[in-house]
Symmetry: D3
Subunit: 199 residues, 6 copies
């Protein structure tokens, strides 16, 4: 039988790399405060943030880009950005991102099956044409980035997306093509709390 | 926002094909009895069985092979057969099979995260060498079937599998390469009850 | 020079797996009778049936599904089902199935070159639009099963296929995606008699 | 049913391109003589030569390279060169080359099944290690040419090939990656006589 | 003949998206100062920075991550980071990144041919084993990210890389999998000045 | 740091194969004369010709085909033929051909960036519809040769190409699918002079 996995929610090291992760109390005050907000809002500190904390400047750079893309103003709703995250991660088979952002889709949409649908095959989901176009673009950027061109941008425009939305779709899809690879390359494991949440 | 999907648990037609599905009362008595056992054991009738019921001889042929592979004697445990089902379905991105057999892995293993791990990237799971070899073989059969050869069978033997187990691994992996394609080609939708079960 | 292969028409074991195959006289009477019908109609017992005979329940399950799909009522002619078998097997480079079903196409069509065309590149064959659509669907199911969707079903309908035919095309294409993988994984070798037949 | 194809053995035009092919009597005397030798040795004029005859200089350049590679001195036997031709053509699914060179393998080896094996999946054939290494190299050159490197050349040397043989294997494999693409791109159809020959 | 392209070095809009780019004088003073440093060090403002300037917060987030990865402390030299950038971009066929980072490799290495080698096929370059291992890892992360695992990390360690270096290699390779996709998706065009520089 | 490569412009052996290359003075007079014309026109002897000179008959066959395709009458301009060479070589990641023919595009077009564009991603280049169609056809022939068919030829015709031009496009694209593989398989290295030329 498969051995039961044990992923500590607050790891003191990455599973695969011997990079010591400092205790939270050793971080700069503003980062401690930011981690506290995560505790409050999410209920725990996402392991990806713990992982980056081995180097404060890397942690800040990651948070800066993540927050800008996923939380700040955008032509896309937060749910739509999470939907892109899941579809991109499904193609790259990134365990960490599928668990974490699948949960986000379940929570934000109030539709547990939608998280699974997008993680498994977004083409099976009932979506608006605008959302389907958005995910088709993110999918193509992921699997054949060199073939993306004006025809694809035109398809987005025809489905009702503005040029600003095209930038935002592209930026989120590109970002998860980065984080998927980073998470798998250093073997980040998601917090256990995600699995049962929002079912 | 994504529209909430509504999949009736006992569909009277396939979602994509206009093939009328008969009421259960119109089926032969032994099939009605079989469906009743499903109700009891699973809690509902899997939609795949409802789908095949448009033609009793097809339903019987499907049940015959399914039961033989997944429930009868085998060199593999039932959980291991479900693990293969999920890993194969993950590569083929089959929504129906991932939902249904992911639930089976969660239930049989008592480890909800394992179902997700296998559906997302089995390489991230902590498995015995014997199980990892089994899943590597199933994966290769799925993505590059023409390249499977003696070296791959030898790898299974070195990991502790008998020749009979090789047949059984191959048979289950091959079977889900059939059902994945069938489910997607006719757009079968899994019963909603799977999503929340065994979390 | 390549060594001349010697494949016994009635093997007493699989080439690659040490699973003893019983003599036909040891099988249940109905199976002996079925094998006798094969001898008569085909001229020999296909090795795939000999292979499955190591376990009678597996043999019955395989025959049950095979006969249902390839010989029973269908929206497709028997030749069309064999054409799908060959096109799917060509993509999976399955030696056993290409030899056996290539021969079936040669025999049923009375056109020896057609068997080779479909085994090599079906796009080079002169086919009706309806047949080309059927093979395009089977091809897509084989190579990118996760991308099959409503647009592909619509293409079949436009070419003149009913929804029942879509099921039948899908079922045959899916079946050979199973048997191709099984035959290669356990190294089944086709009977020598196929090679020269129907040229 | 599939329409019976009718490919004239001495076509007066390509099937897909409107390039008029001259009568043989209009060719330069040395080319007429060369075509006559083909008639004698092969029994007919291969359509590829008829196709190139629309331009005498192209015909001469093609014959020059073909004869050098396939008929002149080489570290490989003529059969081995034909084996490479078939394995490369199988990956590119080139109907013309598989028919013509599959026949050559059947004839030269005296083993009809070998031609089919190589056209379907060379890994299923019983080959010497030296031949298998040769075909593995040709296969890799065909499907992932950018990944061929010193390790692959070393594998050939370990299997007993000289550096001159490496050149010759590479040159034949490369050549059929050209002719496969040319034949498919302009839709060359093989002479019907190949199908029944050497079975 | 191909029309001569005209890419303004200081574009006032993206080529493909109608997102107005502000004049530099409209930017916050610290960003104006940063752009000034670019002018001085590089000789011009890279178009990617001009592109992001349509939104100051996005520009800051991009600069933050870029500088951290490519300019700050690392287990890799700046040249090695640029080598990874080029190898990743070659697989994704990103025109912008290949031009810009190919130039960086030419300049930093003092070896113009090295920039081309890495942009075309890094396997043809004469590299130390440690560098080759680094690029093999970046390549695998790019083309089959889901298959990266402990064996790949071990290969890096055996070639002499520390765990910190593994993080840094992964982070740079992941980053260019983001920027390649972003640049192509919004059709960023590199400054003309790159082409002739460092030849 | 990467070691500086040293590729002699007149190699006396191939880098990877121990095939002795004769001094030019040992070649037949007409070949010495041909090499002299290369010196004059190109400024040096391309290494590919030096490589083939280990066997005069192979050298003549190669020159015969090369000159016919790239220098003789054609429906395509010489620049267009070089553009196809570069686009095909980019997909096959052939270092030799990208360096040599990228330089030819730079020289013939007078547009240094065009050579890089085609070597990196031809879709980013501003081309006429006729040229784009030509390169799309060459690209498809390279990556999915088995899928090229009448629809693709029709696309060329609609873009203004004659049937003779289709032959010529196909012939050049097919040729570089041969030479790319040959150059990589035997590790040909381009002359250093190419790198700085025509920038």
């Amino acid at each position: 039988m498969a051995k039961k996995r044990q992923y500590p929610s607050q790891p003191d090291h990455l599973t695969a790399l011997k990079l010591p992760l400092p205790p939270r109390s050793a971080l700069a005050p503003d980062l401690q405060k930011y981690f506290g907000i995560c505790d409050e809002k999410i209920g725990f500190l996402p392991n990806v943030l713990a992982a980056y904390s081995f180097d404060e400047s890397k942690l800040r750079a990651f948070i800066g880009l993540y927050n800008n893309l996923m939380l700040d103003d955008s032509a896309l709703s937060k749910l739509e950005r999470e939907m892109i995250a899941v579809v991109v991660s499904a193609q790259n088979h990134c365990y960490y991102c599928l668990v974490a952002h699948g949960q986000a889709v379940r929570q934000m949409s109030g539709d547990p099956a939608l998280g699974e649908l997008l993680a498994m095959n977004y083409r099976a989901a009932k979506l608006t044409k605008k959302q389907r176009a958005m995910l088709d673009f993110a999918y193509k950027m992921t699997v054949t980035p060199d073939q993306v061109g004006e025809a694809d941008r035109e398809a987005l425009r025809k489905a009702g997306h503005t040029d600003r939305a095209i930038w935002d779709i592209a930026a989120v899809a590109a970002f998860f093509n980065m984080t998927n690879r980073m998470a798998t390359a250093v073997d980040m494991m998601p917090n256990e709390e995600y699995h049962a949440a929002s079912r």
